[in-house]
């Protein structure tokens, strides 16, 4: 009834209109007077009646001097931005009404929280005496994990359709511009209990929020808790990934795999099961920036791509950008995967571990000094080697093989006070692979960083990081007559400073980042006296990549959230270096090599500068749906050179130089996002278009290792990708699921002045990861409080391959003739994986808890083709075979524990 009256009054204000009373001029100073006091005094002096609810009007005071102005002008100014409005009726009365929309939404939110049995915290910010209703003020907050005391990065804070929402930054801090008055805040983060706050804001202020883990672990499917994030976050294409969800998905030989989970997202694909890395929206593997605590990683996998190089328990959160990449990131054209490690617990020591079929892991974290200094350390290592050697096989070579990997993480945090925190992070991954007893491959990636997070004031905060990275591989052969060691190494120290400044509804970000690369692209040396290997040392390469950026996130009006930014990037390559000189206006090929120029130490051999605009806007159509538009331009100065089907850890990273221009990637995306039934279901549709310039490809038959004239074996061209991504999920109930479908194309054009400098005659051709139709469905069915049945089905169009059009016999060899790169496709890929998750009891306080994940991959044993190969057993006959990596159903079991 009250609601009906409010609505009636409000709607009537749109039709009834009279000016006479409101035109009355005010004759004296009224500054500092309470509005109710003023109105009652005005009634006594004039033939006018004011109709209002005391509680609505009493908080308002008249702050300005309105002498000589009209009554209507003064009231409009005092009630500006509030939900109170007024109308004049019958030339003698003024009725004050309140817009019920926000109040109704607030009540609904509270009722919904009660229905879901959510605990509602009542928080009052500021003092009632300072309450100035309707004024926009800034709510500054910090969200912390209750157990670990670690900041929750990427948590969403939603204040209803009118005020929208925001997310926490890397320090777990958020700022929200809202009116004073009553609000309901909903705070969400994947894997943590949703928090509901009944907030009364009297003035600008701050609050600290603690979030608890969901008592039922691993409740969500990977993306399906992203509704709030997707709809309230201004960045199109940003996804927050769940470590919890990752652990409960079916796994390959028991290893929870971040990269495999990424590949279930719309717009992300891979060339096959044994391929390292991933492809995002038609970009190549090297176009993904993978950051671990702010430092880039060059290798993201173990065992040549079978397992990802991240121990899931050591990860605090992962943010994935596949479009609308913010200005603070640069250097890779397609995506950013920002991984933050888990810090230690501030109050007590905790641990967890896992035992799988091929690896085991352990993590401990706790306080070195209570509430001040913490440590987290973890290690994961394989016993695949033992497994292989224990195989009851008669193949000596297999038993003499070696497959080893480990990764280790260490993190130290020290809080000087509430405003300063120093963190040290170390990461190392190592792989060793030896087969057939002679040749061993080893590769490792190490990162160390020191980071200071400093809050200078309520408005200004920043982080400063000093880091050192190292990526290297070795190929060794121990057969005495040819024994050698081939080494490759990249060392990259980095410095960066990122600042945030909050001014009203603007959140400015700015910073400077610089990274120095020292490439040792190859050194071959004999390792025995009788070795026939001749030492070869490739010239080292030095480069400096820098970027400065500025960005702003602001809300012009309640429906828009705009993020704009620009990044200025530069890349310098420096001596000592020898630069080859080719005949002008001729193809860059060996016959045209005429000279070389030697540059001394520090001499600039090439330089590049790039201006990279970034833009993302969200427009809320209503509280259930929004539109998002984004654009980014990114220059990429490092190129991964590979001439194999899949990227391998022993491929070469090549900096841009005189011959290799930086890649440029421009991407625009537009999406419609919507949820249904109080976020029980959500859906989005997003289209994107991407153009890439100067993508590198190799000439036919190129030899890339220890090649001193690499430029003569590589070509540059253009690429483009476009597509539409559709996604729908059900997020609540015993059965949750997510379904995505992507149609996209990824095309390349390599057109040079001569046929030798073109691929496929300069015509457009599909990239080797062009998979037009991609479909993914995942689900999680809670059989009981402790048992869940999860699964995933994926389908992808077969990727393009190059096949022979005929064969021939030459000098006794039967050879296939290939024409046209990537003109044929392997059969479509599809696979079903299921898992049974058995959790321990759900008591919050327990000394030990364990869970089992029993997985079955490739349930119906489909032999998905990974590649084709060709062979001839007798001259005159060419056979075609397909290699399937998973040729049968693969069961596995993992036990994880926490203490």
């Amino acid at each position: 009834m009250v609601r009906a009256l409010l609505i009636l009054l409000y709607t009537s204000s749109l039709t009834v209109y009279s000016q006479s009373v409101l035109d009355t001029k005010l004759d004296g100073p009224v500054k500092g007077t309470k509005l109710t006091v003023f109105l009652k005094g005005f009634e006594r002096q004039h033939a006018v009646r004011f109709y209002f609810v005391e509680d609505w009007i009493s908080p308002f005071s008249i702050e300005g001097n309105y002498a000589g102005q009209t009554l209507g002008g003064m009231l409009r100014d005092v009630l500006r931005e509030s939900t109170i409005s007024f109308i004049a009726i019958h030339e003698y009365g003024v009725v004050f009404v309140r817009d019920p929309t926000y109040e109704m939404e607030r009540r609904t939110a509270l009722q919904e929280a009660e229905r879901k049995q959510r605990k509602i915290d009542r928080i009052v910010v500021g003092s009632e005496e300072k309450f100035n209703p309707g004024r926009k003020v800034n709510l500054h907050g910090k969200i912390t994990h209750e157990d670990t005391k670690a900041p929750v990065v990427g948590a969403t804070i939603y204040a209803g359709a009118v005020y929208g929402g925001t997310t926490t930054n890397t320090e777990g801090v958020f700022d929200l511009s809202i009116q004073t008055g009553e609000h309901v805040l909903t705070i969400g983060f994947v894997g943590l209990k949703e928090k509901v706050i009944d907030l009364t804001m009297y003035e600008e202020g701050s609050l600290e929020i603690f979030m608890q883990e969901e008592p039922v672990l691993l409740q969500e499917v990977v993306v399906n808790s992203q509704s709030i994030s997707e709809l309230t976050n201004s960045r199109a294409g940003q996804l927050q990934l769940s470590v919890g969800a990752m652990k409960k998905q079916p796994t390959l030989l028991g290893e929870a795999d971040l990269v495999r989970q990424l590949q279930t997202l719309p717009g992300v694909n891979t060339t096959g099961e044994a391929a390292a890395g991933f492809n995002v929206r038609g970009g190549s593997v090297d176009q993904n920036l993978v950051l671990y605590d702010g430092m880039p990683l060059f290798n993201t996998s173990h065992s040549l791509g079978f397992f990802s190089a991240f121990y899931s328990e050591a990860i605090r959160e992962m943010t994935f950008y596949r479009g609308g990449i913010p200005a603070e990131y640069g250097g890779r054209g397609s995506s950013v995967l920002d991984i933050r490690s888990k810090g230690g617990d501030l109050e007590k020591w905790r641990g967890n571990g896992g035992i799988g079929i091929i690896s085991t892991n352990l993590m401990v974290r706790g306080p070195l000094k209570k509430n001040k200094t913490t440590m987290a350390a973890s290690v994961r290592t394989t016993y695949a080697n033992w497994f292989i050697n224990a195989l009851s096989t008669s193949y000596h070579d297999l038993q003499n093989s070696e497959v080893n990997f480990y990764d280790a993480e260490l993190r130290l945090d020290h809080s000087f006070n509430d405003r300063s925190k120093l963190s040290f992070s170390y990461y190392r991954s190592n792989d060793k692979l030896r087969v057939r007893g002679d040749t061993t491959y080893q590769w490792s990636n190490q990162l160390a960083s020191l980071r200071l997070d400093q809050i200078f004031s309520k408005r200004l905060s920043g982080s400063f990081q000093l880091g050192l990275g190292n990526y290297q591989y070795f190929v060794t052969d121990r057969l005495p007559e040819r024994a050698f060691e081939l080494s490759y190494k990249i060392t990259y120290p980095a410095l960066k400073a990122d600042m945030q400044y909050i001014a009203g509804s603007h959140r400015f970000g700015f910073g400077v980042q610089s990274m120095y690369y020292d490439f040792n692209p190859g050194k071959l040396k004999p390792t025995s006296e009788i070795s026939s290997t001749r030492p070869v040392t490739m010239d080292s390469q030095q480069a400096l990549e820098s970027g400065i950026y500025v960005s702003d996130i602001f809300s012009p009006g309640n429906r828009f959230v705009v993020e704009g930014g620009v990044r200025l990037s530069s890349f310098l390559t420096m001596g000592p270096a020898t630069v080859n000189v080719y005949l002008p206006a001729t193809p860059v090929s060996l016959p045209n090599l005429v000279d070389s120029v030697r540059y001394g130490p520090g001499g600039i051999t090439s330089s590049f500068l790039g201006v990279e605009p970034r833009f993302a806007v969200r427009y809320s159509l209503n509280d259930k749906s929004s539109l998002k538009l984004s654009f980014h331009r990114i220059y990429q100065y490092l190129h991964l050179i590979s001439n194999t089907t899949a990227v391998t850890p022993v491929d070469i990273w090549q900096p841009s130089n005189t011959f290799f221009k930086p890649q440029r990637a421009d991407q625009a995306s537009f999406g419609y996002f919507r949820d249904f039934k109080e976020k029980k279901y959500e859906a989005f549709a997003e289209v994107f278009y991407k153009e890439m310039n100067n993508v590198l490809d190799f000439r036919d038959g190129a030899n890339l290792i220890l090649n001193k004239t690499l430029e003569a074996d590589l070509l540059q061209g253009d690429g483009k990708a476009y597509g539409i991504e559709l996604y729908v999920s059900k997020n609540l109930g015993r059965l949750t699921w997510a379904f995505s479908y992507t149609y996209s194309r990824s095309l390349r054009t390599i057109r040079g002045p001569t046929s030798g400098e073109s691929i496929n005659g300069g015509m457009e051709f599909p990239s080797s990861f062009d998979q037009p139709h991609m479909l993914n469905a995942s689900w999680n069915y809670r059989l009981s409080r402790r048992f869940s049945f999860t699964g995933n089905f994926s389908f992808r169009t077969g990727r393009p391959v190059t096949v022979p059009i005929f064969g021939f016999v030459m000098d006794g060899y039967t050879v296939a003739y290939f024409s046209g790169r990537n003109q044929f496709r392997i059969p479509d890929y599809h696979r079903l994986d299921v898992a049974l998750v058995i959790e321990g009891n759900h008591k919050l306080k327990k000394p030990w808890s364990g869970s089992w994940v029993i997985s079955f991959l490739n349930v119906y044993g489909r032999r998905n083709a990974y590649s084709y190969f060709f062979g001839s057993d007798v001259p005159g006959r060419i056979n075609t075979y397909q290699l399937s990596i998973l040729g049968t159903i693969i069961p596995s079991v993992t036990y994880s524990f926490k203490f």
Binding site: T393, Y395, R436, I530, T644, V803, V815, F818, R821, R877
Partner: protein
């Protein structure tokens, strides 16, 4: 699974081609599969293949002209192209029009002399003309020694693979800078079978009778010819300047056939031009890379023969290279254990592919 076994055998035979196949082996044994597929490609016009070479000496040397074969997993008889006019000339004005022996063309008189430049010209019956780039005949260097080392293979009781010998050479490349050597492995072994123990049904009497060739032992002794599986090439960037030591050239498995008596190994060494080297390097990449997990994308092979008055696709290689050879015999006694032979039943020509019952002239 049968394919898997074949695959493993295939890798084993290539003992030293290591690279990244290792994981494939492991993965294959764990969970992967290899299946034949039918690409069902649309039929295409099969192009002309020209395969010719001239070495030092008097010859005769031959040029083969044939057609390509479809990629359909079926055997296709080599289709030679007869009726062409084939001429080899050198830079001193010597020309030789080759005689046509059903698509295989043989030289009459032209000699191969180091330092001279040779060129091949072909005119097919329909008037289409093709020619090679001029190829200078380069000296071959020397094969200083051929030797072998016993290597343990798979367990003998698996019946899949046995132990073997790795064959190495010490060689000297021609003096000077950039060298592009190619070696050919020519293996020959003698096989003695017992065809009399194999019977066939007489179509008239319907009686089981011994093989006809068994009576005079026409098919009880054969010589089997083996060559390398992919071109063996020398890469100047990785090895010493002119003297090459312990260069691996091939692997010989030890079994009932290969060491039935003894094994003759002949190594030929030559230096080829850049274009010919690139072609065979591509062939090697294709053959070696075809089974790799990290398969290099395949590419078009380009020889040194091109069409001059038409747009027909032709793949041709004409090489001019002096050749030096060296051979050894490996006796069964070189096997470091007592190797027992079992009797082989049947026609030796059928039992051993690439075999002949006439003794090669070089066999001692």
């Amino acid at each position: 699974m049968n394919f898997l076994m074949k695959q493993i055998q295939f890798w084993k035979r290539r003992g030293r081609k290591v690279a990244n196949r290792g994981l494939t082996v492991i993965v294959l044994l764990w969970m992967s599969c290899i299946d034949p597929v039918d690409l069902s490609l649309p039929p295409s016009q099969l192009p002309l293949i020209i395969d010719g070479a001239i070495a030092d000496g008097d010859g005769p040397f031959s040029v083969r002209i044939l057609r390509g074969v479809p990629v359909d997993g079926r055997y296709h008889q080599t289709e030679f192209v007869a009726g062409a006019r084939v001429v080899i000339s050198d830079n001193t004005g010597v020309r030789d029009t080759l005689k046509d022996i059903g698509g295989i063309y043989e030289t009459n008189s032209i000699k191969g002399i180091v330092g001279r430049t040779y060129q091949l010209r072909v005119t097919t019956a329909d008037g289409a003309k093709y020619e090679s780039t001029p190829e200078m005949m380069l000296p071959a260097g020397t094969v200083d020694s051929v030797f072998f080392e016993f290597v343990r293979g798979l367990k003998k009781d698996t019946q899949i693979e046995v132990d073997g010998f790795n064959i190495f050479i010490n060689a000297t490349a021609p003096a000077g800078g950039n060298r592009r050597l190619r070696w050919k492995f020519n293996g020959t072994y003698k096989v003695r079978t017992n065809p009399a123990l194999l019977t066939t049904t007489d179509p008239i009497t319907l009686q089981d009778v011994p093989l006809a060739c068994a009576e005079q032992c026409l098919c009880c002794v054969c010589w089997v010819s083996v060559k390398e599986e992919s071109p063996i090439l020398f890469q100047n960037d990785f090895l010493g300047s002119s003297t090459l030591r312990h260069v691996f050239v091939n692997y010989i498995p030890i079994n009932n056939m290969t060491f039935n008596e003894r094994y003759r190994v002949e190594i030929s060494q030559m230096e080829v031009s850049q274009r010919v080297y690139d072609f065979y390097s591509g062939v090697r990449k294709q053959i070696d890379g075809s089974t790799s997990l990290f398969q290099p994308p395949f590419f078009e092979l380009k020889g040194n023969v091109s069409a001059t008055n038409n747009d027909n696709l032709v793949i041709g290689v004409f090489s001019a290279a002096a050749v030096v050879k060296r051979h050894i015999y490996i006796a069964r006694t070189a096997i470091p254990y007592d190797f027992h032979l079992s009797e082989i039943i049947g026609d030796c020509r059928a039992v051993a592919p690439n075999s002949s019952n006439s003794q090669p002239a070089f066999w001692q």
